[in-house]
C-alpha cells in the first residue's frame, strides 16, 4: 500500500516542485523548479532521494498535512520555518517518520521565504513534459497546475517500508542554509556594455531592498538608479536563472525559477547559482548588496556548494539529542515569549 499526505491547510504559495522542466526552453516553456535549489536538494538528499524527486515548496503562507495509509519518511529544510509534528516543535531542518494520523505543520519563522517538504521516493503527481514542477502562469504540472489547497492528496512514488529499517529520525545540520548577510555574487554580462563603468560601480556599492513585487517569476529590487548608457530596448535573447534585468525604470529585476526563457531587457549580469537560493529566501523589505566575481569563481563556488550539500547524509544527528539542545537554545533565546499555539509544550515527551 502506498502512503500519502493529505493537505489540511495550505497558505498561498505552496506548490509541487521537482528540479524543473528542461528540454523545452527553446519553445518558450518556463523551467520552474525550486526557488531555493540548495534547500530543496538538502531535503531530498536527507531521504536518499535524487534531486529529480518532487517535493512540496512551502512559502510564508505555511502548510499543514496529515499522513494517511502507511508511515512515511519525510524531510524538510529551507529558511528557519517553524515545524510541528502533531503540535510538537521540531528543528527547522529534520528527517522524521510520520505515522498515519500524525500531522505536520510549517509556518514562517525567523527568516526565509521558502522551505521544502520532501518524502522518501518523492511525490507522485502527474508528469507534464518530463517534470512534475508546477508553473502557475501556464497552469502546468503539480496538481492541476495550481497551488496546493485543503484536501489535495499527494501519493508517494514508492512504498516506504522497504527503506525504513536503515532510517532514524534526525535533525539535519545544514549550515549552508543558515542566514548569511554576505553580498550576492554576480557575473557580469551579457549586456553589461549597456551600462557605464561608473554606473556598474554604483550598483556594486549600493544597498537594495526587496520590494513586495516578488514572486516565483522575478524579484524586483529598489535601490540606486542603474541608468542605461545605450537605451533599454534590446532585441530579445535568451534568459538564464538569476539574470539581473534592468528595465526602463532603472531598478533591477532578478529573474527566478519561473522566468521566461527569452526576454527583451538588457541584463547587467547574473546572480551566481551558489547564491540564488539565498536570494530567494529574502522577504520583502529585507536588504542586500552585490559583489562582482568571474565566471571561474562562480563555477568554483557552485561546485563547492554542490559538494557540501552532497554531505547531507553525513550530517544527520539523532533527533532526541538535537531536540533537547534545540529546546535549550530556544528557551535561552525566547524565554518569556508566550505563543498560544505552544501551550502544550510543557507536556511534550521526546
Amino acid at each position: 500500500m502506498r502512503g500519502c499526505l493529505r493537505v489540511l491547510r495550505a497558505g498561498p504559495g505552496a506548490t509541487i516542485q521537482d528540479s524543473g522542466r528542461f528540454g523545452f526552453l527553446r519553445y518558450g516553456v518556463t523551467p520552474a523548479g525550486p526557488m531555493d535549489w540548495t534547500a530543496f536538494r538538502t531535503a531530498n538528499f536527507a531521504l536518499g532521494n535524487n534531486d529529480r524527486a518532487a517535493a512540496i515548496e512551502v512559502s510564508t503562507g505555511g502548510l499543514e498535512v496529515v499522513c494517511e495509509g502507511v508511515p512515511l519518511w519525510v524531510a524538510f529544510a529551507g529558511g528557519a520555518f517553524v515545524w510541528r509534528r502533531s503540535g510538537m516543535v521540531l528543528p527547522k531542518a529534520a528527517r522524521i517518520r510520520l505515522e498515519p494520523g500524525e500531522t505536520l505543520m510549517a509556518r514562517a519563522g525567523e527568516f526565509g521565504a521558502f522551505t521544502y517538504l520532501a518524502v522518501a521516493g518523492g511525490f507522485d503527481t502527474l508528469v507534464v513534459m518530463g517534470s512534475r514542477s508546477t508553473h502557475l502562469r501556464s497552469g502546468m504540472g503539480g496538481i492541476e497546475g495550481r497551488m496546493l489547497k485543503a484536501d489535495d492528496v499527494l501519493p508517494t512514488v514508492i512504498p516506504v517500508e522497504e527503506r525504513s529499517s536503515e532510517c532514524f529520525e534526525a535533525m539535519i545540520d545544514a549550515p549552508w542554509l543558515d542566514r548569511d548577510p554576505n553580498p550576492f555574487r554576480v557575473v557580469l554580462g551579457p549586456q553589461d556594455d549597456y551600462f557605464t563603468p561608473e554606473t556598474l560601480s554604483r550598483c556594486f556599492a549600493g544597498v537594495f531592498t526587496l520590494t513586495s513585487a516578488a514572486d516565483r517569476m522575478a524579484y524586483r529590487l529598489k535601490g540606486p538608479d542603474i541608468a542605461h548608457a545605450r537605451g533599454y530596448d534590446i532585441v530579445s535573447d535568451g534568459v538564464a536563472l538569476g539574470a539581473i534585468q534592468i528595465p526602463g525604470d532603472k531598478q533591477p529585476l532578478v529573474l527566478m525559477a519561473d522566468r521566461q526563457p527569452t526576454g527583451g531587457y538588457p541584463k547587467l549580469g547574473h546572480v551566481v547559482r551558489a547564491d540564488i537560493g539565498r536570494l530567494a529566501q529574502l522577504r520583502p523589505g529585507e536588504t542586500c548588496c552585490f559583489r562582482e566575481v568571474s565566471v571561474a569563481e562562480a563555477r568554483a563556488a557552485l561546485l563547492a556548494c554542490e559538494d557540501e550539500i552532497a554531505t547531507t547524509v553525513q550530517r544527520l544527528h539523532p533527533l532526541r539529542l538535537a531536540l533537547t539542545s534545540e529546546r535549550l537554545f530556544e528557551a535561552n533565546l525566547i524565554g518569556g515569549v508566550v505563543d498560544p499555539l505552544d501551550s502544550e509544550q510543557t507536556e511534550e515527551e521526546f
Binding site: 528542461f22 528540454g23 523545452f24 526552453l25 527553446r26 519553445y27 518558450g28 516553456v29 518556463t30 507534464v128 513534459m129 502562469r137 501556464s138 502546468m140 557575473v187 557580469l188 554580462g189 551579457p190 549586456q191 534590446i234 532585441v235 530579445s236 535573447d237 535568451g238 534568459v239 538564464a240 536563472l241 538569476g242 539574470a243 521566461q260 526563457p261 527569452t262 526576454g263 541584463k267 549580469g269 547574473h270 546572480v271 551566481v272 547559482r273 565566471v295 571561474a296 562562480a298 563555477r299 563556488a301 557552485l302 561546485l303 554542490e306
Partner: protein
C-alpha cells in the same frame, strides 16, 4: 564561414553566442547553423540550447563543462560552419479574419489609414519565418510581416487575447498559444493549437520553419476548432528542400 560571434557569459551555467543585435534573416541563419552543429556534435555537458533572433543561448552543466572549454570548442566548430538552415518545413495554417476573431482590426485600420481588406490581404499573403519562442509556452515570434503593417505596441496592454490569436506590433507578428494580456493587436485567429502538451507533436513549428496563412471563414474555424481540440494538428506541413 559564419560572421565572427561574441561570446558573452550568462552566469556560470549559460553562454550567449551573439551574432548581431538586429532582426535579420542572415543573423538568424548563423544562429540556426550553430544550433544544428552543437546538436550534431553532442557536446558533453551541454544541456540545452535556445535560439533567438540574434543569438544562441547555450545552457550547460558547470560540473561537466567549463565556459572556457566550451568557447574553445565552439571557435573550432564555427570555422567549419556554413550559415544554412537545417531543412525547414513550411506550415500552411488556417486563419480566420472574420468577426468575432478580428477584435482589433478596426483599431489597426484607423491607426494605419488602411482599409480592412488590405490589412487582411497583407497579413495573409506574407510568408513568415519562425524566429523564436517566448513570452509563454508555445508563443511563436514571426518575422516577415509586410512593413505596411508596422504599428507600435500599445501603451497599456489589452485584455487577454484568446489562444490562436494572430497578433501584430512593432513590425513583428506572432501566434498566441494561450490567453495572456498583451500590448499587441489581434487581427485574426487560427483554430490550430500551436502548443498542446497532450499531443505527440507538442509544438507545431520548429525554429527556422516557414509559415503561411490560409484564409478560412467563421464556420470552418468552428469546425476545425473541434478537430484541433480532439488532438489533430489541422495544419499542413511540407519539407522546403523537397519543393
Amino acid at each position: 564561414m559564419l560572421s565572427k560571434p561574441r561570446y558573452l557569459p550568462a552566469g556560470e551555467s549559460a553562454l550567449v553566442v551573439e551574432f548581431g543585435a538586429t532582426i535579420d534573416p542572415g543573423i538568424h541563419d548563423c544562429v540556426l547553423a550553430l544550433d544544428a552543429a552543437i546538436q550534431h556534435a553532442n557536446f558533453e555537458g551541454v544541456t540545452e540550447t535556445v535560439p533567438t533572433y540574434r543569438s544562441l543561448m547555450i545552457h550547460f552543466d558547470p560540473r561537466r563543462l567549463a565556459a572556457e572549454t566550451l568557447i574553445t570548442a565552439l571557435a573550432k566548430l564555427e570555422d567549419t560552419l556554413k550559415p544554412a538552415r537545417t531543412p525547414p518545413q513550411r506550415w500552411h495554417i488556417p486563419a480566420c479574419y472574420d468577426s468575432p476573431h478580428d477584435e482589433d482590426i478596426a483599431e489597426v485600420a484607423a491607426f494605419l489609414g488602411l482599409p480592412r481588406a488590405q490589412i487582411i490581404d497583407l497579413h495573409q499573403g506574407a510568408r513568415y519565418r519562425v524566429y523564436m519562442y517566448g513570452f509563454a509556452p508555445g508563443y511563436i515570434f514571426l518575422g516577415g510581416l509586410p512593413p505596411e503593417l508596422t504599428i507600435p505596441r500599445r501603451a497599456v496592454p489589452r485584455s487577454p487575447a484568446p489562444p490562436g490569436s494572430l497578433l501584430i506590433a512593432g513590425g513583428q507578428a506572432l501566434i498566441a498559444s494561450c490567453a495572456m494580456p498583451t500590448g499587441w493587436y489581434g487581427i485574426g485567429r487560427t483554430p490550430v493549437k500551436v502548443f498542446d502538451p497532450r499531443r505527440a507533436k507538442i509544438f507545431l513549428a520548429g525554429i527556422g520553419d516557414e509559415i503561411c496563412f490560409e484564409r478560412i471563414d467563421g464556420e470552418a474555424f468552428d469546425a476545425l476548432s473541434l478537430t484541433a481540440e480532439a488532438g489533430e494538428l489541422c495544419a499542413r506541413g511540407e519539407r522546403l528542400d523537397e519543393l
